[in-house]
Homo-oligomer: 442 residues x 2
């Protein structure tokens, strides 16, 4: 990946092929569960973009023909705000629960010197209910994300699972109501700060040493054993309605994930998981690498929110969704060698042109290969066979077809595997059978 | 299609599914010929965007956090300028001929009151040579466009074919050199103006009535018969080197199209076809509807250009390409009923939940259906069966799976075709065979 304009990365052809293959795999998984593709316009009203109080790193649009034209629209910086706006505008024509995914670029008007991406892809999947939405959808979304990562042959990973009601229900028993947000902020960055810094900060919100100890026990409960044991521990606490409701939901989701054939080892309860101060209100989850890629951080995350369209509509649209960080993930997987990117052509076979007098014949051979379902490029430039084979090699072709004048007259050609060096004669009248057999050989 | 912000159209879910299906079909055709996908960044330097002297209807970007920030980048208005810039920046890493397609949105900063699209999709395919590019690629591009339209079940259409060298070689014999551009402009709009207006204007460039008559004969030669007869007529003229070269190239392409199994009736020589004052220098073509959709105008067009990267690089990159007007075409085909858009889900089967006590069992059934390769949605909201079947109907599902408590205990369920009303019992232990058989029935 390289950038011609800083912050706007572009792929080289081999990388683009891998990227698209992954996007196609992800789409297929989403569609396997009945999620429909959605594509919103790149621009939104700036008032919509700013409604939730963002950090202002937004690109506005102006007409260069009229610099003083009204500046009212800007580029989306995520896919959630457009989803909310789309649901509100089209509510009358949507069928609820509305299940959609969107894989699209988003833009952030970062200062160039920060060296951050100013264009990158987001990959979001959400189910939106009209008024209410069953908890079972939470389990479905989690299982879809796990299945997507499995289908991509992503190396070791696991999903941390929690429910915000457990965390906030618990905190209400040891922190004053108006300090809860700050406490969650602190918990959210617990893995990025030192224990000393944590201790120093937590004393601002909690005075009683006993309560601080309670908090630490709670934050470490994920270490006591497997999900069954953690859940047991959480259940015995029986703190308040909110907390208990969160525990029941969490248990429910774990049961459903079993039915969806998600192995226990892939999901781990993490009572301290908060997923920031985002709009999440129930289930939250985050998928992270284990092993060699663990430094990357989270690959995916998501959760349940009570109302997608707050501030936009009086109607209540609860939802549950996830985002997969493909813009960071895919280049990293390429770098680490988990995704091969040695093909520069989507085709399987290159038909070479050994004798340009008969170019029509080669074109007919290529056409016949396509007719029998084989993606085929014809090399049409006026170059000798050596140059053509070198082109095949550089573009990552495994198979080439060659024929000289004599062979063409005898209505045959040669198909060659460039890797194994093996080659066979193929006859025009039985090309389908002969070629398909040759391509199947290892 | 509707717009929340004027000029930025968005699809409803059923339309989006059709649109994506078409895009996938187009991509598959392009890839069948070894063209690789390419995605350039949405933003380009404004200096790049304006290099060819455009009409200034460009969206510039500014950071709303800093309105006075340097305004140097803007959104692409087509896919050709980004292609040229990409080829120049990455020339060292590309393998030539570089064969790529790009299907992406572009943006035009039109004044809102003009009621024109400000965001729309373009679909471009090009081959770029380094220094030179064989004429055979022209035929390949034309055949790909025709095959794409065929694969989309586009109703009656044909492709007009010409070579700019024929037109300009001929004009050089009857018009002064410095009037040629204006004459081509006039010819280009011949079908939009009255014969009187044409006569009045042409007299500005050509004084001799005899020459005007020659021009009119030339412009009408496409009516004298089939391609063979038109070519014969063009060949006998033997006007000058440029003209003769164009005729040879045209003939060559017609021969190659035969090898690519393009029926004669689909391609029609049109010596007056110019394709505007664009950068085309040789082959030009344009595909138009016949029959009920003829008013739409051209569906696709393209041609050969001597140098893609003029003004950007000293290196010469000739190319040939085409664009398919999907943003106008697809909504029109939907409107006219050529593309059905009655499905709101990409899934095939909806598993209903008749008895929520057993919700895990229904989730297991859905999981098993997915395992055997069937895209399956589970209806998870707490609604009665009638509401669930109505959801299935509204979302365009043909098949639903249902089971009551008794059936679940007996490890079976019912699969029903909502169109034919036919239904079968399926047993969990032989689900794969029973379901696949049922889905296959008409």
């Amino acid at each position: 990946m390289r950038s011609d304009i800083s912050g706007f990365p572009e792929f080289l052809p081999n990388e683009q092929i891998v990227f698209n293959r992954i996007i196609d795999t992800i789409k297929e998984q989403f569609e396997f569960y009945g999620f429909a593709p959605m594509e919103t316009a790149a621009a939104e009203r700036i008032s919509t973009l700013l409604a939730k109080g963002n950090d202002n790193e937004i690109y506005g649009l102006y007409r260069i023909a009229d610099e003083n034209s009204k500046k009212s629209i800007g580029l989306r910086f995520d896919l959630t705000v457009p989803l909310a706006r789309y649901v509100v505008s089209n509510a009358g024509q949507l069928i609820f629960p509305h299940k959609r995914y969107q894989i699209s670029p988003v833009w952030r008007g970062e200062r160039p010197q920060q060296g951050r991406y100013r264009q990158f892809y987001q990959c979001d999947i959400d189910v939106i209910g009209d008024g209410n939405l069953s908890i079972e959808y939470d389990a479905e979304i989690i299982s879809i994300v796990i299945n997507v990562l499995r289908s991509l042959d992503i190396p070791d990973f696991h999903t941390k699972l929690n429910n915000r009601k457990i965390l906030s229900g618990f905190l209400k028993t040891i922190v004053a109501e108006n300090e809860i947000v700050e406490t969650i902020k602190l918990i959210d960055k617990i893995e990025k700060i030192s224990p000393e810094e944590f201790d120093k900060t937590i004393e601002k919100f909690i005075i009683s040493p006993e309560r601080i100890q309670q908090l630490k026990t709670f934050l470490n409960v994920e270490k006591i054993g497997d999900n069954f044991e953690i859940l047991k521990w959480l259940e015995t606490m029986n703190l308040n309605e909110e907390y208990n409701c969160g525990v029941v939901e969490l248990n429910n989701i774990l049961q459903l994930l079993k039915k969806l054939k998600i192995e226990d080892s892939l999901v781990k309860i993490s009572p301290k998981l908060a997923r920031g101060l985002t709009y999440y209100t129930g289930t939250v989850f985050e998928t992270i690498f284990d092993g060699s890629m663990r430094t990357i951080g989270s690959i995916s995350g998501g959760g349940r929110y009570d109302n997608l369209t707050e501030l936009m509509s009086n109607r209540i649209f609860p939802g549950v969704g996830a985002t997969i960080g493909i813009s960071r993930l895919i280049p990293k997987l390429m770098e680490e060698g988990f995704l091969k990117s040695d093909k520069l052509s989507p085709a399987t076979v290159l038909v070479t042109v050994q004798d340009r007098k008969f170019i029509g014949n080669y074109i007919e051979i290529a056409h016949e290969l396509r007719r029998i379902g084989i993606k085929t490029e014809t090399y049409l430039q006026d170059k000798n066979l050596g140059a053509q084979l070198s082109y095949a090699d550089k573009k990552g072709y495994n198979f080439v077809v060659m024929a000289n004048e004599m062979e063409l007259l005898e209505k045959k050609a040669i198909i060659k595997n460039l890797k194994t060096r093996e080659q066979n004669i193929i006859h025009f009248e039985s090309m389908e059978k002969e070629v398909l057999e040759f391509l199947k050989k290892k």
